[in-house]
Amino acid sequence: MPTNRRQFIRSLAALPLLAGPVRLLAAPAGGSARFVLVFLRGGYDAASLLIPYHSSDYYEARPTLALARPGSDLQAALPVDGDWALNPVLRESLYPLFQRRQLAFVPFAGTDDLSRSHFETQQSIELGLAAGGARDYRSGFLNRLAGVLGGQGAIAFTDQLPLVMSGPAAVPNVALRQVAKPGLSVRQSQIIAGMYRGSRLAGQVSEGFGMRDEVLKAFAEEMESSSRNAVSARGFELEARRIGKLMRERYRLGFVDVGGWDTHVSQGGNGGYLASRFDELGRGLAAFADEMGKAWDDTVVVVVSEFGRTFRENGSRGTDHGHGTVFWVLGGSVAGGRVAGEQVEVRRSTLLQDRDFPVLNDYRQVLGGLFQRQFGLSAEQLTKVFPGARSVDLELL
């Protein structure tokens, strides 16, 4: 009998948990709180996500990119408070979450790195260190958070281990866009792992084999049934569902990045390039929330990007590199349905360097405050995650 998507996902959830061969793969230990960081690489145009619809300067600065003020029109932005409105492409996916108060936005967020370089700023965020201090490339802040939480249960859903997850805690990575059957037998895998015993890569190799087996078991049914019973989700939505499954069953800290946000040219207003990226992302996050089931109540997802973009559109109907951006905070217990943090009226005169949004909510302070609430971190533990940072509690939980 053909099953629909929802039943299919439920049946996956009912699979008995398989004991992984590697210690890391134990169920979340020490509490059920889960945190996922979603990194939008490329500096997404936050002013097209959260529209300052009260600002006439905004409409003047963006003749082709601005979205219509809230109104009855389906194309119009969705009001979230007296100042801000949401891109209407998220009407079906995330707006319901906002209305259920499970989604909040933090505008004017970011770092004090003013290089406006993608790579420099991504790196400084992932390292999570104070500006001006010596750069320590040995660990990212999620790896240090994993250490504080006992050194286990963190994972990156990426091809390469990102800087934010690099460091002393052994963190595996696995990209879930495609899941393939292995070409090596158990015996061969053991012999290969044996060659690395005692070498500098021993940890990575054994984690890698453990992770591979785990993923294969977790998705065995999906892999078999996908040929008979086409999975409706595609792209990031499918990946996000798979992430949800592994996070629900195994992990406390997760990371995934989503690229394609560097919109110097023709980023589009309603229904353009950027709108489809938001749509894809929104549907993915909604699918993730759905997949988490009851565990969603203990889960927080934060969506960040290295910076926002210029306030004015450029000559190519796109935007160039800016500064302050908007963070998204989602979760079953998030105190959402609002726009949180320090704010300033959006006018030409309040722009930083007459160019972009200022940063009023430092990411280390905001995330630090959130981690304190979510994981009950002590001040000392917090210092390990974000050295030298003062936490600011935006009461997001």
């Binding site: 390469q160 012999i191 060659m195 690395y196 890698g208 450029n314 190519s316």
Partner: protein
């Protein structure tokens, strides 16, 4: 360890001859290097081949034995035009990219793309979309395949590595540049890979792949697009700490206005006084009507607004800047060393770079003659591109493969597809970017595909039956005879446990020793 015991006891006679040959060559090669450089640690020629090239093969080993280390390095720094094996030359010659100029191919495909885009939703649109995608994918495959075939079989191994290095330094993304990428490496980069840095900078600036990727085709007087200007300063020349400001980004963007692409057969209509300023070269176009002729200030120096000549002056200024010398030299040193280069070595290289007006070969010579370089041989982790190419070179030692598709797929799986980096910073050059758990298991899967001879590398499009003979004979290779002395106890034990020659291959290609070069 008994130096002549051959695993599986196969091909004893041949291995003996090769061992003897290798030992003899070794004696000839080693003292030459040592005599010339008093303080430099002795260089193992095979390890040098693994570092200067994409993995040692028998013919490289013969060549270095003949020339000695230093003369080999000189020959690689100043290569003669490369002759590839006949079957490879034939594969390259048969490609669309070899037969039709990009200036003809790109407009045709762009027209096709626009037609598809303009179609309304229908079954016809789906068919047309699929046809366009097939054509565009075929061009990418050819592009990637050419890069891989040259890396596998060119005798100019250093030139090939530098072509890859610069293609990564001046990285463009195939998802955006698309078919314009066609001759990017062949036309803009490889011919200059060991020449002057300024020439590389100029050639990449005039290539449509770069102008499309970093949006400079959209950069117009009065409506500037900063993207290319910013990355030119940050990633191509000075480096992010090179001392430029946001103001410099904007001024350089003004300098670059009018530098773009023209895919039509027509020149734009221009006022008579601008016509002499117009330039067209293939798909490249400088359109004076789009250029900002105002004067500028770049890096604290005035720059007189006067069209394309001012672009060249700006590039001269950037290419000769000490920050560029240090930034580029540090990156080259990092590429050829294990770990970070010492500041002293970078300074020494930068001094040569500045003195020689950016001669890459002269600068690399300083690096290759340093004791830091000699000491790091055998200790650098291979990135996925290095791993894949060296594994195929070892497995088939000069026997031309017929199909590069599996290699292209492996690189995608390991997170380093050719020109698949979305962001213009190129792939990282440090080890930890490539050693994550997921990537290590993927390597072993690839080792298994190659070791079992089931990779599909000999499955030509029309030819399904050639796979049976593809199991490599790694235990017989001259390279293995040189490498065996470096194998650790655990690897030797694993090789002893192999139940078949195929499995033995898989273990060798999976070994920690084969991950380094």
């Amino acid at each position: 360890m008994n130096p002549i015991s051959v695993p599986q006891g196969r091909a004893m006679g041949r291995a003996l001859v090769l061992v003897a040959a290798a030992a003899g060559l070794w004696l000839l090669a080693a003292p030459a290097g040592a005599a010339e450089r008093g303080d430099r640690p002795q260089i193992d020629p095979v390890r040098l081949l693994d570092r200067l090239g994409w993995g040692a093969t028998s013919s490289d080993m013969r060549q270095i034995a003949q020339l000695g280390v230093d003369r080999y390095i000189e020959a690689q720094l100043h290569p003669k035009p490369a002759t590839l094996p006949g079957p490879v030359e034939r594969q390259l010659a048969a490609m669309t990219l070899s037969q039709r100029p990009l200036a003809e191919l790109v407009p045709e495909l762009e027209r096709q793309r626009k037609t598809v885009q303009a179609m309304t939703m229908s079954a016809d649109k789906d068919v047309a979309t699929a046809a366009y995608q097939k054509a565009a994918t075929a061009i990418y495959r050819e592009f990637a395949s050419r890069m891989l075939l040259r890396s596998l079989y060119s005798p100019n191994q250093l030139q090939e590595q530098m072509a890859w290095f610069w293609a990564n330094h001046f990285s463009v993304f195939q998802g955006k540049s698309g078919v314009m990428l066609g001759d990017y490496v062949d036309a803009a980069i490889r011919p200059r890979a060991l020449g002057r840095f300024r020439d590389l900078l100029g050639a990449t600036l005039r290539h449509p792949a770069m102008l499309r990727y970093l949006d400079n085709e959209q950069n117009v007087a009065g409506r500037i697009n900063e993207n290319y200007a910013r990355e030119l300063l940050e990633l191509h020349t000075l480096g992010v700490d090179g001392g430029y400001s946001q103001q410099d980004v904007q001024e350089l963007a003004r300098v670059l206005t009018g530098v773009g692409i023209n895919l039509t057969a027509d020149a734009p209509k221009l006022k008579p006084e601008l016509q002499s300023q117009y330039l067209r070269d293939g798909l490249f176009e400088f359109n004076p009507a789009r250029h900002d002729y105002g004067d500028k200030v770049l890096l604290g120096q005035p720059l007189r607004g006067r069209g394309l000549a001012e672009v060249d002056e700006a590039l001269d200024r950037l290419a000769r800047h000490p920050a560029t010398a240090r930034f580029v030299c540090r990156k080259m040193a990092r590429y050829f060393l294990a770990g970070d280069p010492s500041p002293a070595l970078v300074e020494q290289m930068a001094a040569t770079f500045l003195r020689s007006d950016g001669q890459v070969a002269d600068t690399l010579r300083v690096l290759f003659r340093s004791s830091e370089f000699a000491r790091s041989l055998g200790k650098q982790f291979k990135d996925p591109v290095h791993y894949v190419i060296s594994a195929v070179r070892l497995a088939y030692d000069g026997r031309p493969i017929l199909n590069t598709d599996p290699m292209i797929q492996w690189l995608i799986r390991m997170g380093q597809p050719l020109h698949g980096r979305q962001t213009p910073d190129g792939y990282p050059l440090y080890e930890s970017a490539w050693t994550s758990p997921g990537q290590m298991t993927t390597r072993f899967e690839i080792a298994s595909a190659i070791g079992n001879g089931r990779a599909g590398l000999f499955r030509g499009e029309a030819d399904q039956g050639a796979e049976a003979s593809a199991v490599p004979q790694l235990s017989d290779s001259l390279y293995f005879e040189r490498m065996r002395g470096h194998l650790g106890e655990a690897t030797r034990k694993a090789l002893e446990q192999a139940g078949s020659p195929q499995e033995w291959n898989v273990f060798l290609l999976s070994s920690p020793e084969f991950m380094d070069r």
